[in-house]
């Protein structure tokens, strides 16, 4: 574990850096309107940019990132934000896994199979492990599309990126505060 530490830290810092760039790019794209928004709206915009920025660092290589991006493209105004942040990547969220639609045949076979299997499990025979797995699936974006092994791998990836996101946001907020910006 120790000889991997430096490598992991470098990679982690790179993820943080990339997240910050993406996030700032997103906020700049909203710039004129940011100032006139209500606090609540601005918070949602900040949060949305942060989530898109986090997903973008993965460039669609994971299910969770594609699920997050597809969640964001539901709304037209949000779609612009996604476009802006992903601008430098070749990947555009056209192939993301769509939300459950009435037209079920559009989904890939694997997705349909995964969903069917999770329905079968709800026969009242759940043990603690299955309950917790279900909880985890609710927390990880796109979790219900994953089966056991995939879920754990995606969770690992997602947690690392979440940590980077939180770290980066904390740093920015702290910078703001330390700059002497105390309102009261």
């Amino acid at each position: 574990m120790h000889n991997n530490d430096n490598l992991d830290m470098d990679r982690y810092n790179m993820v943080k850096q990339q997240f910050l760039k993406n996030w700032m790019r997103g906020l700049v794209a909203c710039n004129p309107s940011l100032r006139v928004m209500s606090i609540k709206e601005r918070k949602l915009t900040i949060k949305l940019s942060a989530d898109i920025a986090m997903a973008a660092t993965r460039s669609g290589a994971t299910i969770w990132s594609r699920a997050l991006l597809s969640r964001a493209t539901v709304n037209t105004s949000q779609r612009l934000l996604v476009r802006r942040i992903l601008r430098k990547y070749r990947y555009y969220p056209k192939n993301v896994i769509r939300r459950p639609s009435k037209n079920g045949s559009r989904l890939s076979k694997r997705v349909r199979k995964g969903r069917k299997m999770s329905k079968i499990r709800f026969l009242g025979q759940e043990n603690a492990l299955e309950k917790r797995t279900e909880m985890l699936k609710n927390l990880v974006p796109g979790g219900h599309l994953m089966d056991g092994k995939c879920l754990i791998e995606e969770t690992l990836d997602y947690v690392v990126h979440l940590q980077a996101q939180v770290d980066a946001m904390r740093t920015i907020t702290a910078d703001f505060i330390s700059c002497g910006h105390v309102n009261k």
Partner: protein, 91 residues
Amino acid sequence: MSSRRSRQASVSRISDDQIIDLVSKLRQLLPEIRPNRRSDKVSASKVLQETCNYIRNLHREVDDLSERLSQLLETIDADSPEAAIIRSLIM
């Protein structure tokens, strides 16, 4: 009958070897699980629960930080040092 059960199990449940391997990686990420527990005896259920709690905490923190940042940006003016920070980060 056992083959049918194992086929269903392989889709919806994780095999033991995979659990041990991946769970150990997950444990390294989670701050709460004490490192002095014997690695093969930690239940997957406990790890999953810790993971869920951890993810929930991280979500909450992102939410709080966004709220905080939004409030800080509320009173920004064009010439303040905070605006300069934003500008320098963007360029």
